[in-house]
Structures are given as structure tokens and as C-alpha cells.
Amino acid sequence: MKKKYFINANILDPHNSVNEVGGLIVGENGLIEGVGKKVNLNNIPSREKAIDLKGKYIFPGLVDMRVFVGEPGFEYKENFRTLSNAALSGGVTSVVTMPNTDPIIDNVSIVDFIKRRGRDKSKINIFPTAALTKNIEGLNMTEFGLLQSKGIIGFTDGIKTIQNTRVMSRIMNSAKDLDSLIMQHAEDYELAKNGMINDGIIATKLGLQGIPEIAETVIVERDLTLLESIKCRYHISQISSGKTVEIIKQRRQSVKFSVGVSINNLSLNENDIGDFKTFLKLSPPLRTEEDRSHLVQGLKDGIIDVIVSDHKPEDEEQKRLTFAQAATGATGIETLLSLCLELYHNGSVKLDTIIQALTSNPAKILKINKGNLNIGNDADFCIVDINKPWIVKQENLISKSKNTSIENRKLQGKVINTFVKGEELFKL
């Protein structure tokens, strides 16, 4: 690989607290050789051709902590190849995949398969999770130690929640012993039973069963209470309500844990469901505008650590149904960064905070050396024109499934190039 020189970029690397105009040198081995203001025309050998980025941004490749891939079992929704192409177009170079496949990723033999497929078919870094409990039934925990040794990054039941408090406490004990990362999707099944959207005026108007915010808060409160006595690596996958932000704010003083939020809950609210738009049937549900602004404030205040796409591909057949029958979830990996930039452009959140929540924060929680522009590290990064306007159109999406939550949304900011290990794998 030829050595590459980029100059005149806005380098934003929250991990190293770098936010300056400068350049980036990618070595022949695909590693970062130099970064920052020191890299400019004056100290680049004159025979080398430098690429002038003219004020575009360089961010570390994004780390998306919540991604569903259809392999194995649902290849018609998304496979590793299509996922990887979609991710690259959105500047995402590392993904944490959920175990909700068919079969469920809950034993060592299937991890080998996933690792092999991920390596052969995808060009991005795949960090697979395994289920917390066998067959995500919430009863018997999986082999955290053995699975970890095979390369599992963390444990979650994905779309499911551990309901049984005794099981949860035992999971936490094991996670403590083995230094495993636990990721919980916080929803009380009984309170959320048959629920489809936020419990409120819209649910009443549309005649849909609501999911009250307490379905989320009781699980968060329970887990954080357990965590007070069992200190393990615990992460709440996604939160949706303002009340949860309040609870987390209080608990942060006494226990250590991390929190994620879906870009959907930061950018949309229950009113967007309109006339039964099934693409906006999400879990956790979109809540009120007040909740949304609370979440944005939580991100700003550092109460929320991570933004995820919650990329959940569903084929059209699963969405062309009545709201009650339709599948839950939306794709979003390729629009994640652009939709996040909306929060920057409308003055809600600083760019630095957003990029931190998409790069260094998830990497820190996962304990991986990604999401940074460290010298000597893999040159995983993206070049972004943060002002470029574009419109989300289903037909232009790369993901195999087209169930975007933001069809026809006008966005500002687009990934121009994405590099993994120094190799340009996406070009607009």
C-alpha cells in the first residue's frame, strides 16, 4: 500500500483531545504515522503528493455498539457483506453485533462461525456479542468465560431483558468474576405487555397499547440497585425517557456504569408515527418531545455516554402489516453520523461531544483500541463534509433492508471517504 498524506483537515479525535487543523499520514502498513497540526506541507517530503482536504473533517472510524446482522438465519434481511458496505458509507468502521440471530449466538461453536463469516465477508471490524442467557430465555446464563476467550466482546440478550432478579444478580456475579461486559435492554415485560408505542396521548388517539416509561425505569432502578452491591461492567443499551435520565444522573454518584441512546430517540418523537408508520415502531419506543429534549440534554451533560444506530434490518413484508402485526426496528447505520450532525447544526450539542459518543466512549466501554487516531494504530477513519446537504431516500440506501425511520429527511453532513486499516473502502 502506498503511503498517504492528507492535509488541511479539521482533525477531531476526542480520545486524544485533538481538535485542530492539520493532517494525517497513513503508512504503507496501514497504520497511522502522523496526525495533527504537525502534518502540513512544510514537513511532508516534496516528492510526495498530499491530498488537500480543504477544511473537511477527519473523524476516527465510528464504533456502533448496537447493530443487528441477519447472519445466520436472516440473510435476506442483512448479511455481513451488505452490513459492512452500509456501515462504510456512514463512516462506521467497527460494529458490535447483537446475538439475536437464528440460531441465537449462545455457544462457542457458533462464535467460530460468526468470526469466520465476519472476517471473510466484511471489511469492517466486527465485535460480536453473545447472549446473556441460553436461547435468550432469561433463565440459564451462557459460558461467559469460554465465549470471551473465543472473541466475544460482551453479553446481551439484545431485544430481550433479564426479568428475573435472581438470574440477573447471578449474571452480575459471574460478570464480576470474569470481567465481562453486560448490556441490558431495559424493559419490564409485564408493564410493556402488548405495548407498541409510548403510553400517552398518541397511543390513546391511535388506539394502540402503550408502553409506559416505568417499564424502563423499574428495570434501570433494579439493575443499578443490584450493581451497588455487585460491581461489574454494566451498560444500559438504550434509554428512552426523561425520567430515566434523571435516575441515571442521581445514581452516577454512587455506582459505575455506562448508558447508550439510539439516534432515533434523539431525533424523533412519538408524533412522527403519524398515521401508523410501521417503520417508526421501535424498541424502546419513541416518546414525547419533552423526553427527546431530556435525552439530548443528558448527552450534552455527559450522563449518556454512547449514541447507537440500533440498526435493525427488517424486510418489507414484516412492515407492510397493521401496526400491531408489524416487526419492530429500523435501519440506521448509514445515516447515524448525518443524523447526529443535525444535533450539532441546530445548536443542541457540541461536535466534540457527538463524536466522542460515537468513537472514544464506546471503545472505552468495550475496552478496544478503536475509535481513536493514535499513532501506530490501525488507520480507521472517515473524511466528512459536515455541511453537505442530502435527502434520505430508501432507494439510495445500501443496506439490504430499506426500513429507515427517516425517509425523505433532509440532512446536512455526509461521509465522503471511509478508510479501514489505511485502505479506502468507501468513496462518495
Binding site: I201, G207, L321, T322
Partner: protein, 312 residues
């Protein structure tokens, strides 16, 4: 009857819910319906207004009065009426609603009447067919023709709706009848009280502009109309309520509770009734107060009006 302005044309292509209608739409329908009341009592009940038109009734949920009422209404107007039996159809074989809609659409019906257990099913159907869609009840969202026939019944008895005080009592949470009636009665200027135990009260319902009560006596106080809703038996099993007898004690319409309402109060019920659970059986049969039979009778007239208006 105090039906005011006469509209000439309906503003909507489909009748999916009261919330889509304007006051002039409602007056148009009620006006048209009142013309059919006399016809339905006469010896020759058949007209040929809808001659040559095809009406398909698509009932995914069991229904006696609504389905027969729509069928009769179509036939009296001269339409060719086909009622699909869902149990024998391809839906049982796993066909989706959209595919069923496409199939039926290919047969060029002029109007489809749909009842479905899922809220919004009629909206989905209306997006996929060329003809008009009439909602005969979708999930717990809306049941517009029921609200219209209730309004017509009230007008028949009270000669007005504006300024009346109306209590709607019972399982509001699961009731499409309650929702449609709230929209309609509010729009026509009534004051609406909602009476239900908190477990059966939908979230934020007060934002619809109604007064909410968990004490029935307070809720029906000085009301001109008490509208009771049917209580589904399965509500007892999932901890919504403790028992039938306790429900009857606190939320059943009994003479002592009715004493709080106005002396000339009328009692309404969309049927089918659970006697001894939500309503005292003597009250249900008291023809001076109970207008349950009248509701059924005027239901046919209202559906004839809707078919006529939305077929055009």
C-alpha cells in the same frame, strides 16, 4: 331536528374515523340519515340509489349488529352486497391484509366495509384500494358509524346535542365507541364526562377535552345522557378489575346511581349488553329511559346514509 348547515359534499374519500370529519360532514351524514328513518319503517323499504354498486363487507372480528346493519343498509339501497366469511378465506391461510385488499380491489368494488381487531387496519386498507373504505370498527381506535348513530339517537330524543351533559361510563381503555363518541360529541358542543376505574382509563384522555371521574356518582351528576359501554369478560382475568360483583357495585348503572343524573336522562348502550354487570336489567328494559333499541334502529339509517354519501 336541529341539524344545521347543509353541506353538499363530503370532505373525505373514506370514513375511517370521526376525527377526520368536519362539522359539515357530520351534519351532511346525519341529515341524510334522518331521511331514511321513515323509509325503514315503511312497507316498501327498497330503493335503487346504489343499484349496480358493489359493497364488500370484510369482518375480521365477530359482529352481529354492525355487520347485519351494514348488510341491510346496502341491500335497502339496492347495492350488491357480499359479506366475506373470514373463517373460510385465504386470510386463514396466512394472507396479509394488504394482499387481501389487492385481491378484492381487482374485483372493482365500490365500497368496502371493514371491521378489524387491529387499530389502523382500515387506514392501511384505504391506502391500497381504489374504492371508498368505511370503518366498522378498528381495534380500540374508532367506530365512526356507532358514534353517528348515537348522535342521531340523541338528536331524535333531545332535539339537540349542543349544551347537553353526557357521561360515557365503563371500559374506556379498550373502547373504540368511546373514542369516536368523544370526538363527535365534543365537536357538536356537548360536555363529556368519562367515568371509569383508573385501570380502564386511557393515558392522557383528559387532553381530548373531557372531564374524568373514577367515582360514577360524581360522573353522572346532572347528566342528560348516560352512555354505558360493554365490559369484556377477559378484563377480570388480567387484574384490570377484581370481580363482576364489585364492578357492578361501583360502575354498574343502577337506579341509585342514576338518581344523580337529570330526571329526564336517557340511557344508551352500543350492545351487546352484560345485564347485571354494567347495567341493571330493569333499567336496560325501561323504554322511557333506555334507547338501546332505537340505537339499533337508527343504526341502519346512519349506515345507509354513509353508504350513499361515500359511494358517490
Amino acid at each position: 331536528m336541529a341539524i344545521k348547515t347543509k353541506a353538499i359534499k363530503i370532505s373525505q374519500k373514506h370514513l375511517l374515523g370521526i376525527q377526520d370529519l368536519s362539522i359539515s360532514d357530520i351534519n351532511l351524514i346525519l341529515n341524510e340519515a334522518s331521511n331514511f328513518i321513515a323509509l325503514n319503517k315503511s312497507k316498501n323499504k327498497k330503493l335503487d340509489i346504489l343499484k349496480g354498486k358493489t359493497q364488500i363487507n370484510l369482518f375480521f372480528e365477530p359482529s352481529t349488529r354492525t355487520q347485519s346493519s351494514f348488510e341491510l343498509a346496502g341491500k335497502r339501497l339496492g347495492a350488491d352486497v357480499m359479506s366475506m366469511n373470514i373463517n373460510n378465506s385465504a386470510i386463514k391461510k396466512g394472507e396479509t391484509l394488504i394482499d387481501t385488499a389487492m385481491t378484492l380491489n381487482a374485483m372493482h368494488p365500490d365500497i368496502i366495509v371493514i371491521r378489524h381487531q387491529d387499530s389502523g387496519a382500515c387506514n392501511l386498507l384505504s391506502q391500497k384500494v381504489n374504492c371508498s373504505v368505511l370503518n366498522a370498527g378498528d381495534g380500540r381506535r374508532e367506530h365512526p358509524t356507532q358514534a353517528l348513530l348515537d348522535a342521531l339517537t340523541i338528536l331524535n330524543r333531545k332535539k339537540k346535542i349542543e349544551g347537553l351533559k353526557i357521561a360515557i361510563c365503563g371500559d374506556i381503555l379498550h373502547s373504540r365507541v368511546a373514542r369516536s363518541n368523544i370526538y363527535l360529541l365534543n365537536m357538536l358542543g356537548a360536555e363529556v364526562n368519562i367515568v371509569a376505574p383508573t385501570n380502564l382509563m386511557p393515558k392522557d384522555i383528559e387532553k381530548f377535552g373531557v372531564n374524568i371521574f373514577s367515582d360514577m356518582k360524581k360522573g353522572v351528576k346532572d347528566c342528560d345522557i348516560v352512555m354505558m359501554l360493554r365490559l369484556q369478560n377477559e378484563r377480570m382475568t388480567s387484574s384490570f378489575l377484581s370481580s363482576n360483583r364489585e364492578y357492578y357495585e361501583y360502575y354498574g348503572l343502577t337506579p341509585d346511581k342514576l338518581d344523580y343524573a337529570r330526571k329526564d336522562c336517557i340511557i344508551m348502550h352500543p350492545g351487546p349488553m352484560n345485564r347485571g354487570i354494567e347495567i341493571d336489567t330493569k333499567l336496560a328494559d325501561d323504554t322511557n329511559m333506555s334507547v338501546v333499541k332505537e340505537q339499533v334502529e337508527l343504526g341502519v339509517a346512519v349506515r345507509m346514509a354513509c353508504l350513499k354519501i361515500f359511494c358517490e
